[in-house]
Symmetry: none
Subunit: 347 residues, 4 copies
């Protein structure tokens, strides 16, 4: 059997996401399993992949270099801090004729795959609403034994930080792909905690939003309300939970698990504050079992991208899709700063 080596230049994989998700759990795991079986006819052994996990503000120059060198380009999100710039990078790749892609890992999280399975099986009937709760408490670093667990640039707008730019990229592809395209939104951001301790042990002023609230209206009439915050203590099933309510049933998905409640088992609550709530509202839900093996979400998308490079298989998650994520974040900022609803135009 013929084998084909694909060289991968990995840029910026020094951080948490780059090292753990891309290097260790994706590329090394693929190497360990003997690579990807792509068939017998591999006639273009010169293709090379460029992967970028550098800071958002540094991304453009690397992508430009890679496109010029005619590498296939795979990027972390957000691909830029403005839609115009994100689109420019996509156009640049398109014109250079290089294959390109953006990380949209959450699509392959077991929790979201289970939601898609439920939709496929028409568990919900018509979907009425979606509620997302994302976040956890990121320590400020003022207390020695509770060090900050995220880098300081996340909290500085001038360095490309902010939870809205970080998370709305995700909400865009999740909403578009799992439910329906986002058509309109109103958003609000806030800097809940004004000072944190940096990597240098010194306090710095937080200039970016560390909490963001949004109401998204989706095609077909679904309302999706999402909270994102690094200043919230977690009393729910997971760091990210998405509740979907439909005519025939509801589901709550975490990163891996998913609980469902169909119409026939929906309880009829009693509003009587004089007595302790007689219903345990967690008991009426059933956890979906794992009916398949869920591989690492990043690795799954890496395999798809490598097959795209080697075998020309379709890969819809291009830099154009990445630009859509940036667009939602940018529109969220606009909605927030101008205090108004905004439409999401076609790119």
């Amino acid at each position: 059997m013929e084998t084909r080596r694909i060289g991968i230049i990995m840029n910026g994989v020094t951080g948490r996401m780059g090292t753990n998700q891309h290097l260790v759990r994706s590329i090394l795991a693929i190497v360990k399993q003997g690579g990807i079986k792509v068939g017998d006819d591999l006639d273009n052994p010169a293709d090379e992949v460029f992967f970028d996990a550098s800071g958002t503000l540094q991304r453009a120059k690397f992508v430009e270099m890679a496109a010029k060198a005619r590498k296939a380009i795979y990027c972390e999100k957000p691909t830029a801090v403005s839609t115009a710039e994100a689109l420019r990078l996509y156009d640049l790749c398109r014109k250079a004729g290089v294959k390109n892609g953006v990380v949209q890992d959450k699509l392959w999280l077991p929790g979201f795959r289970k939601l898609r399975q439920l939709i496929e099986q028409d568990f919900f009937g018509r979907i009425l609403s979606v509620r997302g709760e994302f976040g956890y408490w990121v320590f400020t670093g003022h207390v020695a034994d509770q060090p900050a667990q995220r880098p300081s640039w996340n909290y500085r707008a001038e360095d490309g930080g902010g939870i809205m730019i970080d998370m709305f990229c995700h909400w865009r592809y999740v909403l578009d792909n799992v439910f329906a395209p986002v058509k309109r939104l109103v958003a609000w951001g806030n800097t809940d905690l004004p000072e944190r301790i940096g990597e240098d042990g010194k306090p710095y002023k937080c200039t970016a939003d560390d909490s963001a609230y949004a109401i998204f209206l989706l095609e077909g009439g679904i309302t999706a309300q999402f909270n994102s915050s690094w200043c919230v203590r977690v009393r729910r099933d997971d760091l990210l939970t998405v509740q979907v309510d439909g005519e025939k049933g509801s589901a709550v998905a975490g990163l891996r698990k998913c609980w469902v409640q169909g119409q026939s088992v929906t309880p009829k609550p009693v509003w009587n504050p004089d007595i302790p709530q007689p219903i345990n509202f967690y008991e009426g839900w059933t956890e979906m079992p794992d009916a398949t093996t869920y591989d690492n979400a990043f690795k799954i998308q890496w395999e798809k991208f490598l097959r795209h490079v080697a075998l020309d298989e379709p890969f819809p998650w291009t830099l154009r899709e990445g630009a859509k994520g940036v667009q939602l974040a940018e529109l969220g900022m606009e909605s927030w700063k101008q205090g108004k609803w905004v439409d999401v135009p076609e790119l």
Copy 2:
């Protein structure tokens, strides 16, 4: 010991709220316990109370009659469907010189009392954000053995229905009194389920909102995000839960119970979707014990109103406060219909 009898004309107490909350659990319970001890000096035995729990659209004419007859007036909320009308009723009472009040029962729910205790004890430090989730699944009545558990007028705008007008009255006095005055809001409503079965067994068209989403900005910079819905299946601690996140600690309150997590016990979560979430996020919270006996919330306020009538004790929850609730609901409708943020002016 001198006793004084207070005659109460109860109007419209045929519905669920009137019968259970006001008649059975409040007035009858007060009668049963031998009335209210008010002291020895009762110098104005002619005062009489008029209580109104009729439909919102019928309220005005009854209040007018009662004011003319110089009764003390106590009303269910919403006191009207427009702020102007609600204020007119208040003015009418004020000019007639009759005592007046509006039901704001949730202030005396054990859950909210515990939140106020936490604030009093400076448990939160600076409060950063408030998240409210209210709602449950109200059956449509299409299935014989799952009859609707709310009256049909709730779902018809032309009859004064709608969840925004119903619930924003509550959110106003809860936010104003427990946290800080509401200064600005954006809201969105939706009719998730377009058809329900009425009391006559026939389908009717739902014209009012059965779900409402809002972001409230409070004086001092707190963001409060509230969802209200009759089309949601409940996977949380209670039918109404309010999460408060502060610099020094967080709390989640239900109708009666309240759970807290201080900064020293805040966990440091691991984002690793490859393994099941290792932290059980419910376990890091501690339930507040009942440090006192919590009487029925409606009854507590009734007692205060009767003492106000009989003893001239202060009663700040006048029809003016009721008008503030109507105002928030009206502004919510305006925000929704016109798609914009709105300020909350002084009344």
Copy 3:
């Protein structure tokens, strides 16, 4: 308001079923609640009801007397021990022009109502199979402190006893009404325990079947397998459980409760006898809540029969339907004795 008294002659209500179910829980309960509200126009006050709960072999003569006296006739099941006789009683009533009915209480058991709700909500998709398990251990009376809990005639064929004649009447109307008409069956009966102690304290020979096995084929291709036994110890959710498996979900109903498992939460079992079964197969099911109030099943049907008598409202559960139950039992005996499958002809 005009009221109308309906006199009821209750025959044979000395046994367990007659006394508890019909007298105490049905008629006395209806009297206690002030009778049945039937409207204002009651123009035929002479109607009278005859109810028969005597032994099956005594039923005919009482029905004949009652029909002659032009009473409305309501009977316990089985209405006879042969289809011909059961049909003759129906014809006799029809020709005499008297209203008539047969007890089919299980249709109003909460468990079966929940199954019907699930079907109404299309929870199952296409139903594939139904499994019924009925029975419990009826003590033989040989041990002093474990007295028999059923009358001795139940175990003597010559007195109309046998579990097949007793239970197949129920399975007929349950299968016909909840699922689909029975078209074909094979049955097997057995006398597991040959001797029991009678009411007189003396041993008697059991000549009737005390266990019965059947496979019913229903219109549309559903296979229904039912076991009935008085010689079985119970390790299941209730004395009677019915499991329904469908393409989209399954349910197990007891007398009052019902558990469901949809396709999305169906576990993927591991067949590995080397380790303890890692799946707890009871945990993947959710109990349906009571969304309505379930009145006594006998009382519900009594009310329907009395409204039929007083108000001419429809009552489909006539003695003809009772004859269908006898027919299934008779065909079961034929299948058993002749060792063959039998078709169920139209009556």
Copy 4:
């Protein structure tokens, strides 16, 4: 100490059963433990074993080759799809003078061993009836994340598939060996789900039965009723449960566990559907402890066969016994297709 090497040619051990049960858990486990201690006198070192786990339709030609080569032959079940063919293979081996055996692993499952222990200890008194429930939900493969967990040939009659041919082989040796010889049966099969997705990702038509119902009459009057299905969701103690009811006690066995209820602890149930069932029918049973170490059932039988080969120890589970299993399956098909009871003749 002298050791003897036995070479084993393993054919067709690429599937699930062959690889896991025979190769990994049996042969490799035996090798790992240092082989089988057989004593010091090994006088026939030329014997070799041929094991066949190929598809049922391929079995004959391999057995013929092996017999010709004078190997000892050990086969998976079913040994053929017709009794005549199964007997021919047995005769062929007998005439060739080669030792032979068939897998009857369930006899050494801890659950069945516990049932045999109970019988040995006369726990049941006279056994009245046996009820078997086997099965689970085999996904059809239509949903991406719920892949089928059995091979597609199982669902095609033309490839030797069908649950009756698969499972009745087991029921034969279980009933014959644990309880009493099967004398008569009626069976019914059905293809509940007509379409599944194959290994190639394409839909195929299911032509074999995926559910089978049977009533077996055993020597001595025991009735045994067995359901087998790949279209059933499991609400019981294990994937296979067998309930045995006897005069003096009852037992329910799963693959490993077994629960018992003696006559003295048998509850007296109350039939009162007006109240929730007051008895928890699971609580009156006691789980039998593991009084010994239960080795893998396949491995135990392998050891016995290897000792039979090496030491001439008796091995009653010959291909003749395997033919009995095929006979029961064939008679089951005949009963189903012709709609009648059939006797089980001596082979």
